[in-house]
Every structure is written in C-alpha cells, then in structure tokens.
C-alpha cells in the first residue's frame, strides 16, 4: 500500500539519526547507515514484487489526489531501477566501510548522512510524477552530491564547485521549461499535462518550453558538450563518492528524459521536429568524444569517468531515435550501465585500497595479487565492451537494431567504434596488470572477503541479467513504452 514511499523514508530517517549519533555515540553511525539501506532495499524488493503482480502503483502524498497533490508513480521499470539504485548503494556502503569510517574521521557521521540523503534524492527522482517535485528532488540529489564530491584530493573542491555552477544552471533551465509548461497548460502533474497537451495547438512557447526543459536535463546528465564537469568531479573525489554517484546520477537523469518522452510527450507529442535530430547528433558526438578522451587517460578512474560520458550518448541516442527497438535498448542500457559502472568502480575502489595510486604504471601484476577483484573487473569490462552473454551486449544489440531500423548510420558507427575503443582501453590495462611484473613482488594481496563479495555478486548479476534479457524486456520494459511507439 505505502510501498512507493517506504523506500525513501528509512533513508531520510537514517540520515537524521546518523547526524545525531555523530554527536553522541560515534560507534552507532555506521550501523544506522547499514540498517537504513537494508530496510530500504527490502522495501524496494517488495515494491518490485507488488508492481510486477498488480501493475503501476500510484501513491498520493498526504492523501491529496492528483492533479492538485503530488503523486509518486512507480511502474515496472522504475520499480526495478529503484531496487537497483538502493542495492547498488548498499554494495558501495559495505565495500567502502573503512574509507567511510577511517578516512574522514570526524566527518564520518556527516558523510553517512549525505550518502543516505543523495540516495533518497535519486530514488525520489525516479518515483515522482510531478514536474516541480522532480526539480526539487533533482536539487536534493545534486546538492548532497556537490558536498560529497568536495571531499577528496586537492583538486576535488574546485571540480565540485565547477560541477555546482554547471549543475545549477542546468537545473534552473529545467525549472524555466517547467514554468513555460505551467503557464501554457496550468498543470504540473505529468499525467494531467499529457491530457492537456493532447488537444493543445503547438506554438512557439510550447516549443521553447520543451527545448529549454530538455536542454536543462542534458546539462544535468553530462551529455556532450555539457560534460565538462563530470570527469573532474568523478576522478578527483574520494573513491567512495565516485563509486556511489557514477552508477546513479547520469543514469537517473537519462531515466527522467525517457520518462518524459514516454509519459508526458508520448510518441513525440508536441516535441519540436528538430529536437530528436539534434539529440541523436549530440549523442553520436558524445560517444566519439568520450571514447577519444578516455583513450588519452593514464589513470584508470579518469578513464572510466570518460567512458561514463560516452555511455550517456548511448542512452540519449536510443531514447531520441524514436522507435520501439531503440527505446527498449536505451532502457536496457540504463540498467546495464548502472550495473557495469558499479562493478568497475567497486573493483577500482578495492584496487585503490591496496595500491593507492591508480596510474597505469602502478598497477603491474594485479591479476596475481588480487585475482577475485580482477575477475569481477574483467566481467564488468567485457560487459562494457559488449561481449555476449553479458548484459552490455544485449542492450547494445537492441540499440544497434533500433538505429538500423531508423537508418541512423552515424549513430551505429559510433556504437561500434566505441566498443572497439573500449577493447583497446581495457586490454591496455589488462596487459599491464597481467604481463608486467612489479618490482617487489607482493604475492597474494587480496582485500577482505567483505569487500570482494559485493563486487563479485554484482559481476555475476551482469551474467544473470544478460541471460534473462528476454524476460526483462517482456515483463519490465514492454509495458512501459507507449503503444503508439512502433
């Protein structure tokens, strides 16, 4: 009954309690965080079960019915995504226990609290059915993100401030778009807005509203050429923050774009003709640029950050190509990319724990010394490249088929080239880690099992999800895409 909000409430309460525990009993901070995340993930799994059996759930916050009140709308896809976000954050939280508690010393209570809050913001973005509420939750997720990303090496604060400037402009542009839409239709509720737009004659203001709205979201999700903030913010921050946010932020914003395209503007309703074309061009450029810049990096985490930039292009391109196949691919890729980015960053987090620096020159003999972490990393990398039967292959396959149907050849070329570049990128790292011997051989130096287990489980999830792609498409994605989209 209350399942859509129950996923968020433990996180909000947990973040308050964590701060209070920080003042009185420090030893309680970490257990509070774990408890909140476990409760929240239990509720999210329950939510998935409920939505799968009963269909889309609507929850009126405070009992105010839409379109006046704020509603949470959870369909099969968003329920699945919520579960993935929360369980991913739990995996990060368990893996990075030492970093969270030891590295930040007196700040650990605030750090735990911020982690829970930013997760609550992201889950809220996925659940909400109200455009203005979406803006507020975007800012909740972003503001806590700025604070988290500010903790890190000497450059972290400046990169975080840079992200804050760009991110706030993006959010403001989104708000402006919402303002125009409200002015034209008098509604902020997504379902209500669609019914008004059905009979609304397209005019210049409506076109401006939609363009500004999507422009703001693109800035937020780091689509090329608005990606400037992402690599700095994710590679200078602490390993914990990068592992937490890299699988969340860009994927959640891509989901917002897909949600708007499938529910508020279904079948290209009211969308200006040029917008999808521009979006696909930008997506193609994002894939090329991200891959090219990833190629120049010698630091593994920085390289992954640029790969995230390229992956944003996959999702935006798929969403805007405008056929069922590509949309399915984009939605699959959101799930796949979240899972494989999580695998890679968790593995990198473990490597950083043992080796310190993540420069390529410092990573010789990793396969010998950290076999389990590296095995998980290889699975994540293979999925990123697109090797069957891993999840990344199937989402790419749907995207390629969709692009072929729509005759978007440049986008297809970009997809294939980026896969090839990923092969080179990852094998350059594997070559160093497998063949080169370190000067003083450390022997087996694997991290503790509690740090290996999460990354191993997520990596196995990539295989399991890949093998059940057909099931995921039928049960979770097919019902969400509007029937008008062929």
């Amino acid at each position: 009954m209350h399942a859509p909000v129950l996923t968020i409430i433990p996180l909000l309460l947990g973040s308050f309690l964590a701060v209070m525990a920080g003042w009185t009993r420090k030893s309680l901070v970490y257990p509070i965080g774990v408890l909140a995340l476990i409760l929240s993930s239990t509720f999210s799994v329950q939510l998935v079960m409920q939505v799968l059996s009963e269909g889309t759930m609507t929850y009126d916050l405070g009992g105010w019915s839409p379109p006046w009140g704020i509603v949470f709308i959870v369909d099969t896809f968003s329920a699945f995504m919520i579960a993935l976000l929360i369980i991913g954050a739990l995996a990060t939280f368990v893996t990075c226990r030492d970093e969270i508690m030891a590295h930040f010393e007196e700040k650990s209570a605030a750090f735990v609290s911020l982690i829970l809050l930013t997760l609550a913001g992201h889950v809220g973005i996925v659940s909400t059915g109200d455009l203005f509420n979406l803006y507020v939750l975007i800012e909740v997720a972003a503001l806590t993100g700025y604070a988290l990303l500010g903790l890190g090496n000497s450059r972290a604060v400046l990169s975080s401030l840079n992200y804050l400037c760009i991110g706030s402009v993006g959010a403001s542009l989104y708000l402006l778009g919402v303002g125009y839409l409200y002015m034209l239709t008098g509604s902020l509720n997504m379902t209500d807005l669609t019914s008004v737009l059905q009979t609304f004659p397209p005019n210049a203001s409506l076109r401006a509203a939609i363009v500004v709205l999507f422009l703001g979201l693109w800035v937020k999700m780091a689509l090329f050429p608005f990606h400037g903030w992402l690599p700095g913010a994710y590679s200078n921050s602490s390993a914990t923050t990068a592992t937490l946010l890299a699988p969340m932020t860009t994927k959640v914003m891509a989901y917002v774009v897909i949600r708007l395209l499938t529910t508020v503007f279904p079948g290209g309703l009211a969308i200006p003709e040029a917008l999808p074309e521009i979006a696909v061009v930008l997506a193609t450029l994002a894939i090329f640029a991200g891959s090219a810049m990833a190629f120049r990096q010698t630091n593994i985490r920085r390289m992954l950050a640029y790969i995230v930039v390229a992956e944003v292009g996959y999702m935006v391109g798929g969403a805007f190509i405008g056929n069922r196949m590509a949309m399915t691919g984009a939605m699959l890729h959101i799930l796949a990319d979240a899972a494989m980015t999580l695998t890679l960053f968790l593995a990198v987090c473990n490597i950083a724990r043992k080796r310190g620096s993540l420069e390529l020159s410092n990573l010789q003999g990793l396969f010998k010394s950290m076999p389990f972490t590296m095995a998980a990393f290889v699975l994540g990398a293979m999925s990123m490249i697109g090797v069957p039967p891993l999840f990344g292959f199937f989402s790419k396959w749907y995207l390629l088929t969709g692009a072929l149907q729509a005759e978007q050849y440049p986008f297809m070329v970009a997809l294939i080239v980026s896969s090839l570049v990923n092969v080179v990128l990852f094998f350059r790292f594997f070559e160093v880690a497998f063949f080169e011997k370190p000067e003083n051989n450390p022997g087996l130096l694997e991290v503790r099992w509690i740090r290996v287990a999460p990354v191993a489980l997520v990596a196995l999830l990539l295989i399991a999800a890949g093998l059940s792609t057909g099931l995921i498409v039928d049960k979770i994605i097919a019902g969400v895409i509007p029937a008008s989209l062929i």
Binding site: F132, V169, L175
Partner: protein, 129 residues
Amino acid sequence: MLDIFAQFTAKYNYWAYIVIMMVGLFAMIAKRNLIKKMIGLSIFQTSIMLFYVAIGAKKGATIPILLSGTDPHHIDATMYVNPLPHVLMLTAIVVGVATLGVALALILRIYEKHGTLEEDEIISQIRSS
C-alpha cells in the same frame, strides 16, 4: 519598428527576466573571481523566480484570500492572483539558498588551501604543484 516596440512594452516583464538572466550568465562565464561567479549564479536563479512570480499576476486582481461575503461555491478566479507559482518559488528560494550555502562552504575550503579566490591563480597553483 513600432511593432517591435509595442511587443517590447506589452511583455516587458519577460524582457526584464531575460535581461537579468543574461547578466547572471555573463557574470558566471566571464568573471574569474569565485565570489563574483556565485553572485552571477544567484542573479541567474533569481531571474527565473521573477519569471514565475510574473506569470501568477493578473491585472486588477487582489491577493488570494477570499473577500468577506464571498460565496465559497462561486469564486471568480480572475479576481485573485494565482498563488501557486509564488508558493513554488518559496521552495526554489530555499533551494537557491542551499546551493549558495554549499558553494560558499566549498569556496571557503578553496581559500584555506590556496589563499586566493582568483580562479586563474588557483589553477596555476594546482598546475605547478
């Protein structure tokens, strides 16, 4: 020519918000001092708040509190300004204040580390280290 002028005066509130918005954006892009950048960000956000407040206004309307003696079942909506955009902007103001707070906290950390607020000097310090 007169046409453009008429359009300008008829919708002067929108022109005003666009001008303010561009002033803010210019400050964010062109100024190299971090505090000035933040002032630009604030101006940028404020322009959007003004836009929202403007769309709630109506000519000859009063504040959205029922006049005495009005039948609550027959309310003439044109007599009252629309309060919803104003309420939305209360939230947006809170968000703006929080953004500025986080930004100033980050700037404080930068100042402690580098002893300056000029972006060029900070970048050259980072490059040389």
